[in-house]
Amino acid sequence: MFGPFRLTNPLSGGLLWKIPWRLSSHQKYRQRQRLRRVDNVVATIDSALAKQGLSTRKLERWKTEMPTEQEMLPKDKYTVFDRKVKKYRKGIHKVPKWTRVSQRVNPPGF
């Protein structure tokens, strides 16, 4: 009944993993921390290069196109566009390697 070998649907055979359709509040908190960490890295590089009067095209592009964590809507922080899903949004935790990729903007019109 209890313990590590209890009879549950995932254990009693077959491949059955259940991924909740939305993030928990703690997952959302950690997602915000990750977004902020990336923002900090970009800001550090930007300030270090700016002191020498330098910059790079990639950095400028990131600064113009990508919103920071504070500018993002909750919708964009925790969900992503997917054309195969009803209403075109799915939880960001369904994206492969979602804790290590930057996915911040939507396709035009969404």
Binding site: T44, L49, K51, T99, R100, S102
Partner: protein, 90 residues
């Protein structure tokens, strides 16, 4: 001359080969490894490629491996007032 202090926090396992290659080029072989590079646009581009995996800070001077290890050493909790050999001579 300012330097970037780059520390690898997240591994690039399962990520595209380009991320792995950049980490290899930077000399970051395992998590929590730290390297120092001068502040140049080239290095900035490399960091931007792996920005989700690393922690970056701007420092004035790079530390050697020995210095970094010395800074990690915890406080022993005591200090030596006098050595035993010194007492014998008196």
């Amino acid at each position: 001359m300012p330097y970037f202090r780059i520390t690898l926090l997240r591994s690039a396992i399962g990520l595209p080969t380009k991320s792995t290659g950049v980490l290899k080029a930077l000399g970051l072989r395992k998590r929590m490894a730290t390297v120092y590079y001068p502040v140049t646009p080239d290095v900035a581009g490399q960091i931007l490629r792996v920005k989700e995996l690393v922690d970056v800070a701007e420092v004035d001077e790079p530390l050697t491996r020995a210095e970094m290890k010395e800074r990690r050493r915890p406080d022993p909790g005591y200090f030596v007032e006098k050595r035993g050999g010194a007492l014998k001579k008196l």
